[in-house]
Amino acid sequence: MNVSFELNGKQTTLEIEQRESLAEVLRGRCRLTGVKISCEAQVCGSCTVLVDDLPVSACTLLAYEVRGKRVTTIEGLADDSGRLHPLQQAFLDHFSFQCGYCTPGMILAAKALLDENSAATDAEIVAHMNGNLCRCTGYLPILKAIRQAANQLRGQK
């Protein structure tokens, strides 16, 4: 079947099989390899992408589900001049990764939260992020980065 959707701001139409996951389509056909595959069971969050601004597990969501919707991957966050999104910059500033495998999912999950509530408390950040696992950092640098980006995004409003 044909699926038309907006991918990182660009209208896209792809011929897909109904059984294909969004991760298979994004990685295999669109070459957006920032979508990382790990647990494949909606537990770890490494495959997090945004569909109509909500975080979903691309490993388990069928690509069929994004017809008519907006899909955002980590590749769509920097602006056209290459300037990083405040969350990306904050993750660099706080060294919020070591291996980096969870980072795209972390940043996209955090973006969904801050787009909705840039005044989120630490408790709200932790509750929102508790389905994104990191085995390197111990999470504190990630929390600090999200706090910094939240402050910056609030300042821009």
Partner: protein, 290 residues
């Protein structure tokens, strides 16, 4: 990356058509209502449907309304939409709070309440709470419609009492009255909760006495289970009930078929019920948990 076996997705225009499709394709077909559990089972070939009937495209099945003193929640309402619904937050806040803690944000954005209940995963948070809130479900098929309590929907681990061609279309939850106190708590250190405990109390005098109680435990057993003997121990004066909490916890543990599994021994789970009955009792009454 695991690739699913081929299947065809069908888009019914109404619940009746979905039921007819289900009946037509028989055991080769399954209802697709969010996919958070179904697609995992299909990845592991635990289910091998050739036809998926997409209930999410049926108009009106994701509405959340207050009618005749009850919340009427369409089967394809996502956990997130229930968590955020002003109707649910106002009329059954324990349900909104529980939904805000189901799995993780991604599952809540796509998983649906109807799908969760029909899948009958033993670790379902909603099923355990709905047992004590008095939830019921509407089931439709070409033969007509029937309404049954959530307790009668669940037949066992991963098993519902839906008959061939039957579709769960609506969940009805009585709204909280000013005399009601209820809460749900879970304990989780693994991918899924190790224990879920729901408590509902009716108190005519601001928590001094309890005239009626319902308590249910999930995750520690193959399916969410009411502690009917415990409920008798949870009625009476606040002081008496507080003294009997330990006895009530044992009664809940006795009612449930406690499992020895990777999440712990049956003895450990009995201990958790003791700890969490104390906590959920205080939480339901708005008392400090310290």
């Amino acid at each position: 990356m695991t690739t699913l076996s081929r299947f065809e997705i069908h888009q019914p225009t109404c619940a009746l058509e979905a039921s007819q499709m289900l009946a037509h394709y028989g055991e080769e077909a399954g209802i697709y209502a969010g996919g958070t559990e179904l697609l995992l089972a299909m990845k592991h070939s635990a289910l091998n449907y050739r036809h998926l009937i997409d209930l999410k495209v049926v108009p009106g099945l994701n509405s959340i309304d207050m009618r005749n003193g009850s919340l009427e929640i369409g089967a394809t309402s996502t956990h997130r939409s229930i968590e955020r619904s002003p109707n649910v937050q106002q009329h059954q806040p324990a349900l909104a709070e529980m939904e805000s803690q189901v799995a993780n944000v991604r599952v809540r954005a796509t998983g649906t309440l109807g799908g969760n209940l029909c899948f009958a995963e033993p670790h379902s948070d909603p099923a355990t709470l709905l047992l004590v809130l008095g939830g019921s479900v509407k089931i439709e098929s070409a033969a007509g419609a029937r309404e049954i309590p959530v307790s009668e929907l669940i037949a066992g681990a991963y098993a519902s009492n839906l008959q061939p061609g039957e579709i769960l279309t609506k969940i009805t939850v009585p709204s909280a009255k000013p005399t009601h106190r209820s809460a749900y708590m879970k304990f989780q250190i693994h991918e899924r909760p190790t224990l879920g405990l729901g408590l509902w109390l009716d108190t005519p005098d601001e928590g001094r006495t309890f005239t009626s109680a319902r308590v249910a435990v999930g995750c520690v057993c193959p399916f969410p289970t009411r502690g009917l003997n415990a409920e008798k121990l949870l009625t009476g004066s606040h002081a008496d009930v507080e003294k009997r909490l330990s006895e009530a916890a044992d009664a809940i543990a006795d009612a449930a078929d406690l499992l020895d599994d990777h999440e712990g021994s049956a003895e450990y789970k009995r201990h958790l019920i003791h700890v969490f009955l104390q906590r959920v009792f205080r939480k339901a009454l708005g008392e400090s948990l310290a």
